[in-house]
Assembly symmetry: C2
Homo-oligomer: 400 residues x 2
């Protein structure tokens, strides 16, 4: 597996564009289209929030047949909690896109991110979609990745190539997400393209598996949004022997897809609103995978842990505290806790440790917290970021 330059237009047969339609603010790109030259196999994973935004509902309808040819995405307005008007706007986005691209309306995936409870400005959006369609290019992935950003500071894209059955296949992806990020699909959008030929069943399963160990293991602030989804389109142009659940190619494809999703997930955590550090929490020795995940995510989500890491304070008691209310099976007198490679607590009891060394570890841009439950064989990683003054500043006046 080789990493290559680019993102969603790295695979063969995909074009994209991103333009500024004036939805979010002047000059900022806010409308993106991703287009496959042939209809592609497609699959998606959606937010678990009970308030599902209109674009998710429209996308789910359009993907009922497992086929898509284009994705249209806007940032600035989430088109959530807008009732009937929201559904009509989401459908109209798909219709306009289908019309200008001359494809079937139910082959269009629709996504929105931004402010909840405000109407989409359909005239500006229509202009944006038309402009984006006219600018579609095999080099347009980067502009599209810019157009889906909201409070993101960093554009997030990645691409890999691998050999499958003597054919080279490429997977490209872009994502957005910075705040309202939490396990189980928070305000994050992920779009993945591949020129591989993948069976419908295999595509859905491998996407779900990849999301579970990547996007569902990051947390910025514990909030799970109404709008999130990850979509994958596989157009088969690479001509590889089809990847199915029962052949040897599946394992390779799954590994590459998971790797791509983990990279994007970490980029999102690192770009968390106001973040100054990436936090990686590794929990091992759990009795079950679910326990390992719960524990890792809870530690990653604790405001007190996050504040301590921001302050570069080796307050491991807060790690133990979060573990204790995570719901994971724990025997307090067995737990070991490390910050970096420095052991802070052994068998649930605090050790005296070298404060200078702890300070050096905490001064890094990436801080690794390790917890060994010493109960079983399961492990999991979660990613998050510290909690800084800037998180509060950004979120105190998001609407203004």
């Amino acid at each position: 597996m080789n990493f290559i330059e680019g993102g969603i237009t790295a695979p063969q047969g995909f074009k994209a564009a991103g333009v500024a339609a004036g939805i979010r603010k002047k000059e900022k790109k806010d409308v993106a289209i991703v287009y496959s030259q042939v209809p592609a196999q497609a699959a998606a994973v959606y937010t678990i929030n009970k308030f599902k935004a209109a674009p998710l509902k429209v996308t789910a309808e359009h993907l009922a047949d497992g086929i898509a040819q284009a994705m249209v995405i806007n940032s600035g307005i989430a088109n959530a909690c807008m009732g009937q008007q929201g559904m009509e706007s989401a459908k109209e986005m798909a219709e306009i896109t289908a019309q200008v691209l001359n494809i079937k309306v139910d082959d269009v995936v629709v996504a929105s991110t931004g402010l909840i409870g405000a109407p989409l400005p359909m005239d500006r959006l229509e202009q944006g979609i038309k402009e984006a369609a006219s600018k579609l290019s095999t080099k347009g992935g980067s502009c599209a990745a810019e157009a889906i950003m909201t409070t993101d500071l960093v554009k997030k894209e990645v691409a890999v190539q691998l050999e499958l059955g003597e054919k080279q296949i490429t997977i490209g992806a872009m994502a957005k997400g910075s705040g309202m990020i939490h396990p189980n699909m928070a305000t994050m959008l992920g779009f993945i393209t591949t020129d591989a030929d993948v069976s419908a069943e295999c595509l859905q399963k491998s996407l779900k598996t990849a999301v579970e160990t990547s996007f569902n293991m990051i947390s910025v602030d514990g909030d799970t949004s109404t709008n999130d989804m990850v979509v994958i389109m596989a157009n088969g142009i690479a001509g590889n022997p089809q990847i199915t659940l029962d052949n040897e190619y599946y394992v390779q494809f799954q590994a590459a897809l998971t790797e791509i999703c983990v990279i994007l997930a970490k980029m999102i955590a690192q770009d968390g609103e106001g973040a100054t550090k990436l936090i990686e929490v590794e929990v091992s020795g759990a009795l079950s995978l679910e326990d390992a995940r719960k524990a890792a995510r809870t530690i990653c989500s604790s405001s007190l842990v996050k504040s301590a890491i921001f302050g570069e304070d080796a307050n491991w008691g807060r790690i133990i505290t979060a573990l204790g209310y995570s719901g994971a099976e724990v025997e307090p007198e067995k737990v070991d806790v490390y910050i970096g490679d420095l052991m802070m607590a052994e068998n649930g009891t605090g050790l005296s440790f070298d404060e200078d060394k702890a300070g050096q570890i905490l001064a890094q841009k990436e801080v690794i917290i390790k917890v060994d439950l010493k109960l079983g064989e399961f492990e999991a990683k979660a990613w998050g970021c510290d909690l800084s003054y800037d998180y509060v500043r950004i979120n105190a006046d998001y609407r203004t």
Copy 2:
């Protein structure tokens, strides 16, 4: 029911003191004793964190017979995650206290709050306990309430009187808590005294009921600590006909006890680390009490809701978002949302509202958020505070 001046020494037969023993920092009172002139019926509710600090374990042992005569509390060091040494220190605290007060060691309740994973300085603590014992007074409640504070800015005490069977009974209480505050007993301690005669069974049940609608419904930062408990002692000196689960006095006593706990809980939320506003969330129309509580607590705990309230931004989409991931049964197209009396969303759809009026409501020191699920008859209230720059400042360098 009349509110009166004072706290835990307001009921007859109780003395208390609070002194500075140098555990937390010079001059700050950090050791408190509460003493009843006769052994009292006692009950307690403990943290749900799996890492239970040593003092909780010792207290649970001592309350096995339902009797206590004194409580000894220190702030500064939590005596949590200290293994065998921690258990020995907690027992020693009880032994020293029993000795100087000349009471039975298993009639002593022990509590600690502060930094996790550090040892109690037993020599200074011993001096503090002896000094506090020598200063016990019927006017000492206020000093005790000061001594249990950590990052609290405000001392928290309250007392009420009511008539039961032609006898006047008094209930007094004090609490501490400011950070690491979350549903299900976070880093908060509550101590309640009463001169009422209450049966053992009734005392335990009424305390549990009171805690469920008060301390378990507040959240500052979503962290549930290792050390929290609420203890009540009822010494019977008022000479009232005994309150039991099957007589008329129970309802009155329960109402007073719940009211006291709600007042202290709101004081804790309002004094949340860095808080500038108290947030009250009222959820009505839920299918079950558990759903109403879940929804209210989740909205109250959302960092995004809290940041928006700090910024006085009527970003009601975040309220809907938190509701949507709360786990409560919700039909999105039925939900109404209000900030104060201003309706923001009806039947799950945003309304255009008067931004000036919203601004006025959000400028108040207390902000009420109301959500009507319109599904059933259950309702609940939760309390929290906004998320400010100061929360981050306080928690970035708690240890230093």
